[in-house]
């Protein structure tokens, strides 16, 4: 890279030191969660300093075992998985064709970019502004404490990712391939389904992963619309604060269980994260 100029070794050292500080800072909270989940409950706050496992205490998997064998946790995990996957499938099924249409066809009544911004504005909407009508509507349809309600709502709120990002990526795909296919007798739908879509598979997988992660992390709707049967993992986590006070060891275990799936997914789609989270506005 052209940026490198002659630097004193001390300067380089300081820079690496700073980078290490930053990375430690970024990871400390996660580290603390993992470490706390491995401590025996009695020792949660008695081990001083940064609590290095094996050095300062003997790690145990007891908390994990208890947690993973609890029926409620398993049910909540399952709900989270079902909601995240189903909502993502709906968002992708609706959003990708829309994104394709916005990049390939001309809309006259409302211009393409205005439609795009309109879809985007769904993300601007603060969820708390619609949580009450949703609550009443779902109560009317007897869908309170039902995963179906959460699936519908999360599909709505992740739809903008699918529409806008797929539009931006289709935009960069040369149209000639599809035109050639149409000349060869493909219908417009086949040109989309057989030509354009397969070429964008990696990006679309990344978009799906972002939708899954956002749905997984969603809390306000899940808290408001479910109680026991359909509660997702974050809501279950929030219930850990029970009458016996906060049980930090279980909380730590559950937070790590909650954060695991979205963070691991994120690592798989690193390349697409900047583009995905900025709705294609910044190319990563």
């Amino acid at each position: 890279m052209g940026v490198v100029k002659k630097r004193s070794p001390a300067g380089v050292f300081i820079r690496y030191l700073l980078i290490m500080v930053v990375v430690t800072w970024a990871l400390f909270i996660l580290y603390w969660g993992v470490v706390t989940s491995l401590k025996p409950p009695a020792q949660t706050f008695t081990i001083s300093g940064i609590s290095i496992p094996f050095v300062q205490f003997i790690p145990t998997l007891d908390n994990w075992r208890t947690e993973l064998y609890t029926r409620e946790s398993k049910a909540a995990l399952l709900n989270s998985i079902v909601v995240a996957l189903a909502a993502t499938v709906i968002a992708m099924a609706l959003g990708i064709p829309a994104g394709y249409a916005l990049s390939r066809f001309q809309f006259r009544k409302m211009k393409n970019k205005d439609l795009t911004v309109w879809f985007l504005s769904q993300r601007v909407l603060p969820p708390v502004a619609v949580v009450i009508p949703f609550f009443l509507i779902m109560r009317f349809f007897h869908l309170l404490d039902n995963v179906f309600a959460l699936i519908l709502i999360n599909a709505t709120f992740t739809l903008p990712f699918a529409v806008v990002i797929s539009r931006q990526t289709f935009q960069e795909l040369p149209i000639e391939l599809e035109e050639a296919a149409t000349v060869d007798g493909c219908s417009d739908f086949e040109a989309f389904w057989k030509i354009a879509l397969p070429l964008l598979t990696p990006t679309l997988v990344a978009v799906a992963a972002i939708c899954v992660a956002f749905t997984w992390n969603e809390f306000l709707f899940a808290l408001s619309l479910t109680s026991i049967k359909a509660r997702t993992f974050p809501v279950y986590l929030a219930g850990a604060e029970d009458t016996r006070g906060v049980q930090f060891w279980f909380i730590a275990t559950r937070t790590i269980l909650a954060m695991g799936p979205p963070t691991v997914l994120a690592l798989f789609i690193q390349k697409y994260i900047v583009r995905g989270l900025t709705f294609g506005a910044v190319k990563g």
Partner: protein, 288 residues
């Protein structure tokens, strides 16, 4: 845009999405607008009260508090995140060994479940023997009442949010810096200006569009803040950290005053819309 076709099939592609959005966001918004004109008891609209719910807004000191908390929170976190994001991007935007691993690690906080971050915050800010206080004890012999003191609880919330979202600002701004061609930097070095000057006169103006996008996205998301505060402080102590979303949530879904809560959500919507409108031209230009 390349040759655009105009065929009927485009409606087949786009209408399902449009109908879905209309059904799931526009309809509830109108529903809630309607509700805001009603007195609601035990979750059932009883009678039409006209603008009474909106009049109540004016005299609601708890609301004024929550607005103050929210605006201050948004202003501080977004500013700190962006400034830190720029600084970190500059730090990493140089030949660095293991850069891709470091960058991957910085992605992690962004995707952490916010409500879980709040609960981890409880253990980290724990006053009797939590890691932060035991560190402060050994260093200064004093501890901080992180969660029992109004101001410190506020600081704790800010710290967690800054922890989670600075990496996002950093990643996007770094991507912006790296998209600038190297020739620009090389040319700048030949002119041998100082590094600060290169940053101020060349890099900063060129990454400005990216910074504005980050700013906008963070503004939008920050106004939604709910999860971390719900789990870390529950709005307390007292109402020191009761942000707008939390106040509205409580009014509506804890006290079941749907009419007033609907009026409150419209107020939030209006505030967010005003702020977004300031940026509207820029957003539109991105999707040209």
């Amino acid at each position: 845009m390349s040759a655009l076709r105009s065929r009927k099939i485009k409606y087949f592609f786009i209408l399902p999405s449009i109908i879905w959005v209309l059904a799931f966001t526009i309809f509830p918004l109108f529903y809630s607008l309607g509700l805001s004109f009603f007195k609601v008891r035990l979750g059932k609209p009883t009678h039409f009260v006209g603008l009474a719910n909106f009049e109540r807004i004016i005299n609601d000191y708890k609301l004024v508090n929550s607005l103050k908390v929210t605006l201050l929170y948004v202003a501080i976190t977004v500013t700190v995140q962006i400034v830190l994001g720029i600084l970190l991007a500059l730090l990493f935007h140089q030949e660095t060994k293991g850069k891709s691993i470091l960058r991957a690690l910085m992605i992690l906080p962004i995707f952490c479940t916010p409500v879980a971050v709040g609960y981890l915050g409880l253990t980290i800010f724990y006053e009797e023997g939590g890691p932060l206080n035991s560190f402060l004890m050994s260093l200064f012999g004093a501890k901080i009442p992180w969660l029992s003191h109004p101001t410190w609880a506020w600081v704790a919330v800010l710290l967690l949010d800054i922890w989670q979202w600075t990496p996002f600002c950093f990643l996007v701004i770094l991507a912006g810096l790296q998209s600038l061609s190297e020739e620009i930097y090389d040319a700048a070095y030949i002119d041998s200006s100082s590094e600060w000057e290169i940053f101020r006169k060349i890099a900063l103006p060129m990454i400005q569009p990216v910074v504005i996008i980050v700013l906008l996205l963070r503004l939008i998301e920050s106004f939604k803040i709910f999860d971390v505060i719900f789990s870390l402080t529950g709005g307390g102590p007292g109402t020191a950290t009761e942000v707008f979303s939390l106040y509205t949530y409580r009014t509506g879904l804890r006290f079941f005053d749907f009419g007033y809560a609907s009026a409150l959500s419209y107020l939030l919507l209006a505030i967010v819309m005003i702020i977004i409108n300031l940026f509207f031209k820029r957003i539109r230009a991105v999707y040209e």
